[in-house]
């Protein structure tokens, strides 16, 4: 790898800073007592405690999965503190009451909340170390009957809805990390779009891990009733810590008849330094249930951070004519490892799914696409189209594609296309000969490569994603 490329990739993480806010941190370790403690601290109803304990029991019997193409030292789950909440006033009536230090953190991250509120019209549910500190635009959303609040709040104010849908898409015993999340999740977002309502604005959440060695177990649930539609944005950054942090979130989406849910993520957790020290372990279970007829669930993700990414946003296409989409850009650099993809499970008739995955590997990183397309016996006329493209930067990175296709219906049509390309010295020389430096060249090539995915993102996010990729790959090419 030439020097130019190396300098480009070897940029330190630009969001690495720690906010000095007093945190209320629980003792390390996981036991039934820990779970009871979390539940009681959050003043939860009995059914939720039961849900947690049931998950915990299931989890105890499970093994950490080892099938993914990722390598890391065993995580000591007893060395993690399962609860941390910033010390501050419990109820906030306006943004003025939010800790100014907290607001400054968001400023540094380039998330000026006021500006977002005023200019972009985005309602931001700010999660700070597992607790929601400010929910905006709630009133306006409430006018049309939309509920958008923290999970803790939803548990108290809309228990019937939470109880009805929680764990229906990702069951308590689904997998090791999801079961762990179900047992110990602290907060997250809840979003409910009632029948026939088109959400008037993009809903957005910013996540951020702030207390060292605090595992984050976010829980998100989005329900769109008949004919409802919503676009949801999730963005993450995290400060630079030297020890690894586990992040095991669960996101569940439910779309009833004719409902439409679009879920977009830009993930930029701390990835560790250039020697692979530190960084977030991101083990996430995201799944959508396209339950109703003509329903549609679309995942778009831009994964640039985390030391390890283990994530397969999936869609179960249960309703007839339902549509599932997965658009992904995953970038790895230095010693990052990503094993990410999707599962499209076709059950309903004439169900359609589209998978577009773009993997970019730089440095000594390893980037795998793993995807399952499953067509069940009842899924007459099901169709899938998958496209998996990999791009290598430099000569020490790796890219893999693991497509699994299971078809049990003869009328199904499944297509899979894959390609691998490389940003070569010759391409960079061509740009250089036209006066364009390596950094701008890489940015242009990468953005061209990712175009099909970026154009799925809401505009504001698309700009952010483009910049993030540029930042991420600075110093990686040459």
């Amino acid at each position: 790898m030439s020097e130019v490329l190396q300098n480009l990739v070897n940029q330190p993480y630009k969001h690495g800073f720690v906010t000095n806010i007093e945190s209320d941190v629980a003792e390390k370790g996981l036991s039934e007592d820990t779970i009871r403690m979390i539940s009681s601290k959050k003043n939860e109803p009995q059914w939720l405690l039961d849900f947690r304990l049931k998950s915990y029991q299931a989890w105890l019997k499970m093994e950490e999965p080892e099938w993914a193409n990722i390598h890391y030292p065993k995580i000591d789950l007893q060395a993690i503190s399962y609860f941390a909440s910033p010390k501050q006033k419990p109820k906030l009536n306006s943004m003025d009451e939010v800790d100014p230090e907290l607001l400054r953190t968001f400023e540094k991250l380039g998330v000026p909340l006021h500006e977002r509120m005023a200019l972009a019209g985005v309602a931001v549910d700010v999660i700070f170390d597992s607790v929601s500190v400010a929910t905006t635009y709630k009133d306006r959303l409430a006018e049309v009957g939309i509920i958008f609040c923290s999970m803790s709040e939803a548990v108290h104010e809309h228990p019937e809805l939470v109880q009805k849908y929680l764990g229906t898409v990702v069951p308590t015993g689904d997998n090791f990390f999801a079961a762990l999340n179900s047992a110990v999740f602290t907060d997250g977002s809840f979003c409910f779009i009632p029948k026939g309502v088109k959400c008037p604005m993009d809903l957005s959440t910013y996540f951020r891990i702030n207390t060292e060695e605090t595992g984050q177990f976010e829980r998100t649930l989005i329900v769109a009733e008949e004919g409802a539609s919503v676009s949801y944005l999730e963005g993450c950054t995290a400060p630079a810590f030297s020890s690894n942090q586990l992040h095991a979130a669960v996101v569940e989406l439910v779309a009833l008849d004719d409902a439409d849910i679009k879920y977009s993520t830009v993930q930029n957790w701390y990835a560790g330094d250039e020697n692979g020290i530190g960084g977030v372990y991101n083990f996430v279970t995201k799944r959508g249930m396209a339950q109703g007829v003509n329903s549609r669930i679309s995942w778009t993700q831009v994964e640039t951070g985390s030391a390890i990414t283990w994530k397969y946003p999936s869609v179960i296409l249960r309703g007839d004519n339902s549509v599932g989409e997965f658009y992904s850009v995953a970038v790895t650099n230095h010693l990052q490892q990503a094993d990410t993809g999707t599962k499209m499970v076709h059950i309903g008739k004439n169900t359609r799914s589209t998978i577009v995955s773009k993997g970019i590997s730089a440095g000594r990183s390893n980037n795998s696409y793993r995807g399952l397309v499953k067509i069940g016996p009842p899924a007459d006329g099901a169709r899938n189209f998958s496209q998996c493209d990999s791009m290598l930067i430099g000569d020490q990175s790796g890219a893999n594609t693991f497509p699994y296709i299971q078809v049990r219906n003869n009328s199904a049509i499944v297509e899979h296309e894959a390609s691998t390309s490389k940003i070569g010295e010759d391409q960079l020389f061509y740009f250089a000969q036209r006066g364009i430096d390596a950094e701008a060249a890489v940015s242009m090539i990468i953005n061209g490569f990712c175009k099909d995915v970026f154009q799925q993102l809401p505009m504001e996010f698309a700009v952010e994603a483009t910049q993030l990729l540029g930042l991420k790959l600075e110093g990686s090419v040459g």
Binding site: S2, S421, E425, D426, Q427, F429, Y430, F431, A432, Q433, R434, G435, I436, D437, A440, M444, I445, N447, G448, F449, K451
Partner: protein, 269 residues
């Protein structure tokens, strides 16, 4: 065209360069003045294309000796992109494909980079579109070139036209066109050559690197140089190209051999 008041654009002295440790250029001298059109000819493997790439700063080649002054600056102290910004243009023998990057986007970025360098205003996409369409007429290119990925799926002729289009946009002081005629049919050759001829002017200079005399029927050079074994061994006017076409390259090597033997003989005597 040779002008009385021309200025030196490029002056190369004693240039030696290696690739993978093998010496390809072995003491090359070459001077270009404003307004001039030069042709460098020579058999395969004589080092013509290497010379073009060394001038442009390709990292695979290492300069081991010699100097090159470009517009008074030491060329070898500049990075490849700095050389380009200083006005050195290389028309590639094999233009590189860049999938996913729209030609219009690429052309505008390179154009604006040069404009910034020259202290001019950048053009927005609409203004640039007007400009580029005008330049494309010169090369009889259809507008759909702009929407396609850079060189991807272009025919040989389309790629070469795209190179000349870039030269037309960037208006370099020195355009080095490496085997621009290779892979072109006679119609495409005439279009490309016509484009180059329209770009020739009093202030700038053009160097054609070519294996065949054919191109020189369309673009008439002021000087023809013969390159052999990493050096320029003979320089003449446009008639030299015709002679090469007729007699091949071997006689030059033989002539040089005889000359050096004669010289050796004198020394001994």
């Amino acid at each position: 065209m040779i002008y009385q008041d021309s200025k030196t654009i490029l002056e190369v002295r004693g240039l030696r360069a290696t690739v993978n440790g093998i010496e390809i250029l072995k003491g090359l001298d070459f001077t270009v003045k404003s307004g001039e059109v030069h042709a460098i000819m020579g058999p395969n493997g004589s080092g013509k294309s290497t010379f073009a790439k060394v001038l442009a700063g390709h990292s695979a080649y290492e300069v081991t000796a010699g100097t090159a002054l470009f517009e008074g600056c030491n060329l070898f102290e500049l990075e490849a992109e700095e050389r380009a910004r200083a006005g050195l243009f290389l028309g590639f023998q094999y233009p590189i494909e860049i999938p996913g990057v729209a030609n219009s986007q690429f052309l505008r970025l390179t154009y604006n980079t040069m404009q910034v360098q020259r202290g001019n205003e950048e053009l927005d996409p609409l203004e640039f579109d007007d400009l580029v369409r005008e330049k494309m007429k010169l090369l009889e290119m259809s507008p759909d070139f702009l929407d396609r990925s850079v060189n991807e799926g272009f025919s040989g002729g389309e790629k070469k036209r795209n190179e000349i289009l870039q030269m037309a946009l960037l208006e370099p002081r020195l355009g080095v066109l490496d085997e621009t005629d290779s892979g072109l049919d006679i119609d495409a050759l005439s279009i490309v050559a016509n484009g180059v001829n329209q770009l020739a002017n009093k202030n700038d200079a053009i160097v054609l690197v070519t294996h065949y005399q054919r191109l020189l029927n369309y673009i008439v050079p002021d000087f023809v140089h013969v390159m052999d074994a990493g050096r320029i061994t003979k320089t003449g006017g446009k008639d030299l190209a015709l002679e090469l076409e007729e007699r091949g390259y071997d006689w030059i090597a033989a002539e040089r051999q005889a000359a050096s033997e004669a010289m050796a003989g004198e020394v001994v005597a």
